[in-house]
Every structure is written in structure tokens, then in C-alpha cells.
């Protein structure tokens, strides 16, 4: 059912960022546990059981929802951590689980049927058929759409499914279809699907060569930044490589996604929720980006064209793209 606004779904990597997101106007905040059950399994990040329960209380007292990302794939032969996460989330009163693994969806649907289940972007359900397949089998109430669809494709898809949709609005941009990428695993042995990390910090190092800053992932050079040039994350898909005798950002420039230019179209298409990426970012980022999008959505709700403050300083490479939402990106 199209409305005049979108539910603002915001990231939190720590309790401090969680408070910042709620206070800045999030409708919903999503977070993860401090282990490999989620795709931001970074050192020093995420929530203990106790912190998660406190966060749930903080959110609920202010009418805000809290979601738990369990968006990695259960390790073969060792499903216990994921099962326990589902059980604990149900007990804590988490409002929905975000999952991609079929085995885990099956477990949650059977063991915690009362909990809402969102299909993670890591499941890469890109068609009405794929969405219906998950919805019919696991009672999914919302699908987070992969970052491969254009706005007209999203609008079309929404007319053909019966569940809510959530799309990415801002932040890190996966260039490859999510949940189906082994590039990090190829270079580092650590996989987003299994270990919850892409380009893990343990394999990243920086070298200064002359005035250049060179980033390496394991044994491979990913990029080299001249003095004064804005840097990006050392992810493989945003590195400079040589192909066909030419050095270029072959896959994607260091850039962040920003959908503010297509926000009215997304609302018109009937999208339910707008997701901001960045559980790995600091609370200053959370505060800045959440407030900006809160204002933009409130403006859009009045029918006016939303104005967006300059967010370039928190963006990778200092610039933005509307990504796959625009056909020209392909």
C-alpha cells in the first residue's frame, strides 16, 4: 500500500550509535551480535546479549523498532550460535530478524513463528518469483531488495508481490550481487557469507610509497592514492586494476550510494522502508546521516522536493552515486 513516506531503517554498530540513531529520528534500528552470525563481524563492534536487551528497552520506550541481523550462513556442522541467536532475540523482544540462510529461515519459522522475518539482501531475491518463493515457504513479511534493480524494476516488482519492501538508501555500495560474492574469500580466505566480513581488517595494510598511500588486501595491491586524493575502503570491487592494457576503477569508483535524487520515485513506487548502511561507522556518521534522511523524508511527505545537506565528507571517495537505481549504471 503506497504511503507518502518511508520507514527509516538505521544502522547501529554499538550502543552509542544505537542511541544516536534513535535520537536522530530513526523509525527502526538494526544491529548485530558480537560474533559471526552477522555480516559486520568486525573487531570491537556489535552487541552483547545484555547490550542488545538494553537497546531494545531504549528503542521500545521511544516507539522505535529494533531488528537483529542474522545475515550470514550457518557454519556447516555448527548451527548452534545461529539457533541461540534466534532464541535469545525472541526472548529479548526483538521486532524482526533479518536472515538469508534457508536452513536458518526454516529454523526461525519453526521455532519462533511469532517473530517477524525479513529476507536479507544477502539472499539476493531480485524477482517477484524469488520473493514469492521465500514468502510462501518461510512466511517472510519483508524483503530487502538487492542493489541491482532500477527504480522502474522495483516499482514493477512491488505490484507483483504481497509483502513489504525495503531498499538501500545511503552508504556502502555492493557492486556485486550480495550474498553471491566470493571475491574477498579468494584474496583473504575470509568470506562475507561465512565469516561476516568483506576485506577483513586483519588482511588489510597500508604502505606509504613516496607521497602515495597504497592499500593492500592480503598479497594484492588494491589501490594507490595520490596526495590529496580521497581514499576509500580497501574492498576489491572499489580498487584500481589493469585490464585490456588500461588502469581504471574496473568495477566501481570509491563512492557511496545516495538515493536522495530518486526518493520521491521510490515513495511513489510503493517501497515500505529505506535502509541506511553503516553499522561499521562511528556514531558521528549515524547522527549526521540519520538526521539528514529524517528531514528529507519529512519534506518529501509534504510533497516538496527533499533537500539534502552535504554528506560528502562521510562518503567513500567523498562522492555519491544513485547506483543501480539508474539504468545508466549498468
Amino acid at each position: 500500500m503506497p504511503t507518502d513516506t518511508l520507514e527509516l531503517v538505521c544502522p547501529a554498530g554499538t550502543p552509542a550509535a544505537f542511541h544516536a540513531a534513535v535520537d536522530a529520528g530513526a523509525d527502526t534500528v538494526y544491529c548485530g551480535l558480537r560474533d559471526d552470525t552477522n555480516a559486520r563481524n568486525f573487531p570491537g563492534l556489535n552487541f552483547s546479549r545484555e547490550e542488545l536487551a538494553d537497546a531494545a528497552d531504549y528503542a521500545h520506550a521511544r516507539g522505535v523498532k529494533i531488528l537483529l541481523a542474522l545475515n550470514t550462513y550457518m557454519r556447516a556442522g555448527q548451527p548452534e550460535a545461529w539457533h541461540r541467536a534466534v532464541d535469545d532475540a525472541a526472548q529479548i523482544g526483538i521486532d524482526a530478524l533479518i536472515m538469508a540462510d534457508i536452513g536458518l529461515l526454516d529454523y526461525a519459522a519453526t521455532h519462533a513463528p511469532q517473530m517477524r522475518r525479513h529476507l536479507s539482501v544477502q539472499a539476493a531475491a531480485s524477482t517477484p518469483e524469488a520473493v514469492r518463493w521465500y514468502a510462501e515457504r518461510f512466511g517472510i513479511q519483508r524483503v530487502v531488495l538487492p542493489r541491482v534493480l532500477t527504480v522502474p524494476e522495483i516499482a514493477q516488482l512491488i505490484t507483483e508481490i504481497d509483502i513489504e519492501t525495503e531498499v538501500f538508501g545511503f552508504g556502502g555500495l555492493c557492486v556485486m550481487t550480495e550474498g553471491r560474492c566470493s571475491m574477498s574469500s579468494y584474496a583473504t580466505g575470509q568470506s562475507p557469507n561465512m565469516n561476516g566480513v568483506c576485506s577483513p581488517a586483519s588482511h588489510v595494510h597500508y604502505e606509504e610509497r613516496g607521497s602515495k598511500l597504497v592499500s593492500k588486501l592480503g598479497e594484492f595491491t588494491i589501490n594507490s592514492f595520490k596526495e590529496g586524493e580521497k581514499a576509500g575502503y580497501p574492498t576489491m570491487c572499489k580498487g584500481r586494476f589493469e585490464a585490456h592494457g588500461k588502469v581504471s576503477y574496473l568495477f566501481e569508483d570509491p563512492t557511496s550510494l545516495n538515493v536522495v535524487s530518486v526518493l520521491p520515485e521510490l515513495i511513489k513506487a510503493g517501497v515500505t522502508a529505506l535502509k541506511l548502511e553503516g553499522r561499521q561507522r562511528g556514531k558521528a556518521y549515524t547522527k549526521k546521516v540519520v538526521s539528514a534522511f529524517r528531514r528529507a523524508l519529512d519534506t518529501a511527505a509534504t510533497g516538496a522536493v527533499p533537500h539534502m545537506p552535504d554528506l560528502s565528507e562521510v562518503m567513500e571517495g567523498g562522492k555519491a552515486t544513485a547506483g543501480a537505481y539508474q539504468k545508466s549504471w549498468q
Binding site: 554498530g13 554499538t14 550502543p15 552509542a16 550509535a17 542511541h19 568486525f42 573487531p43 570491537g44 563492534l45 577483513p200 581488517a201 586483519s202 588482511h203 588489510v204 595494510h205 597500508y206 604502505e207 606509504e208 610509497r209 613516496g210 607521497s211 602515495k212 598511500l213 593492500k216 592480503g218 598479497e219 592514492f225 595520490k226 596526495e227 590529496g228 586524493e229 580521497k230 581514499a231 576509500g232 575502503y233 570509491p254 561499521q280 561507522r281 562511528g282 556514531k283 558521528a284 556518521y285 549526521k288 565528507e313 562521510v314 562518503m315 567513500e316 571517495g317 567523498g318
Partner: protein
């Protein structure tokens, strides 16, 4: 233990300190640093130890988050001050100590620190309070680090996760002097903001041209080195393939 490649990298930084370490921002803090140079570090260290003990008591979660890091020891280099800080955030016995920076930069290997973080003092303080986003600082190159990237990331996340308020914590630390210190801090802050813009302009006019030329030479050399390396690799591969067939 960090992987071998990272350990090697952290040793490397002894000989080639990061750019930001070579070029402190021309700021009022730099001047304050020149004045502070002859002062003994002992009183400062007394204060730092106390600050760390307080941090440990007030923000236990920071140290809990750092438990996954095998060697949570950092060399923190405020590029506009004459001393560096050695910080160990072990959960049992955290320490914070100032050491004097000499010409060649401090020796991270001898100190046994996992990583070095450098940047202007003001930026480091803002980072501690979570007022600016660490990734953003890194994208814009205001901050640089070397050594164990994972340890640095863990520290960033742990510190950011705590709700640190330096004014409040400092007030606590200074006890009865806090009321005097607060307005003084405000005044210094204003003075700093005003003078720093002027200083940056002076600095640029003094050193700009020379440095640009030097950097351009370094870059040219770097490009040549890469080219030679690539060519050598290609010819090796070709030789290998020829031998095979």
C-alpha cells in the same frame, strides 16, 4: 599475533614514518608544542596515568571490546606535539604514557606496539569523543595509521562505542580545579579557532612550493619503480612459459 605481512609492515614504519608524521599541520598546537619541548614529561605522565585509571573505571566497555585483540598496544602520534603517547588498553592493567619524539620518530618495534595512529592533536581528541567519523577522517586522509589494521579498527570501534565526554571526564579528573578550567578551556578553544586559519595560510606560503616539487620527484621515482617491477614480472612469466613448452 597479526599476520606476518602486517608485522613486517609495522617494522617498516620505523624507517619511513607516515607523511603526516613528517609534516605536522602548522597550527597553534604546534607552537604550544615547541614551547612545551623543554618541559619534563614526568608530571604529564602522572596526569595521564590518572586519566587512564579513570577511563578504565568509567568506560569498562571499551576494554571489554578490545579483549579480542591479542596485543592492544598503540603508539599515538599527535603530529603537532613534540611527544607521542604509548597506550595499552589491556583489560587488567591499562597504561598511558608520554614519550619524547626525537628526530627519526619513536621506535614502535622497541615499544612492542601493534599499530601507530597519527594525526593532528585536535583530530585525535575529536575521534576519542566520537565527534567525527573515523572512516571519514581516513577517506579525507586527515588521519593515517600503520601496523595492525585490525587492532586500529577495534580501537576505533571500542572508543566510538563508549559515550566519552572529555569535558565531563576532565572535570572529574581535575576535581576542585574543574570549575576554573571550564571557562579557560572555552577561551582557549576560541583563540585556537581564530589563530589556526591564519597559521595554515602562513604555512602554505612558507613551504608549499618546495614540498610540491619534492613530492612530484618522489612520485616519478615511485612510478618508475613500479614499471620496472611489472616489466620484470612479465618477462619472468614469459620465460617460465617458454621453458614449459
Amino acid at each position: 599475533m597479526p599476520p606476518a605481512s602486517l608485522r613486517a609492515a609495522s617494522l617498516e614504519c620505523e624507517n619511513t614514518p607516515p607523511n603526516s608524521l613528517r609534516d605536522p599541520p602548522f597550527s597553534p598546537i604546534l607552537f604550544a608544542g615547541f614551547l612545551a619541548r623543554p618541559l619534563p614529561l614526568a608530571p604529564l605522565n602522572l596526569l595521564l596515568s590518572k586519566a587512564m585509571r579513570q577511563m578504565h573505571a568509567r568506560h569498562t566497555d571499551v576494554f571489554e571490546r578490545m579483549q579480542a585483540v591479542p596485543n592492544p598496544a598503540f603508539l599515538i602520534v599527535p603530529t603537532d606535539l613534540p611527544f607521542a603517547l604509548v597506550m595499552r588498553v589491556n583489560i587488567d592493567k591499562p597504561t598511558l604514557m608520554a614519550i619524547r619524539r626525537t628526530g627519526g620518530g619513536p621506535i614502535a618495534a622497541r615499544l612492542g606496539t601493534a599499530a601507530t595512529i597519527s594525526g593532528p592533536f585536535e583530530v585525535l581528541l575529536a575521534l576519542l569523543e566520537g565527534k567525527i567519523d573515523g572512516d571519514a577522517l581516513f577517506f579525507t586522509r586527515a588521519l593515517s595509521f600503520s601496523g595492525d589494521t585490525e587492532a586500529v579498527l577495534a580501537l576505533r570501534n571500542a572508543v566510538d562505542g563508549a559515550e566519552i565526554d572529555l569535558a565531563r571526564d576532565a572535570a572529574h579528573l581535575l576535581g576542585p580545579f574543574a570549575r576554573l578550567a571550564a571557562p579557560l578551556g572555552g577561551f582557549l578553544n576560541m583563540l585556537w579557532r581564530r589563530s589556526s586559519a591564519d597559521m595554515a595560510a602562513v604555512a602554505a606560503s612558507l613551504t608549499g612550493g618546495q614540498q610540491t616539487r619534492l613530492r612530484a620527484q618522489e612520485d616519478a621515482l615511485e612510478e618508475l619503480t613500479l614499471k620496472v617491477r611489472t616489466l620484470t614480472k612479465r618477462s619472468n612469466r614469459r620465460q617460465k612459459q617458454t621453458q614449459e613448452t
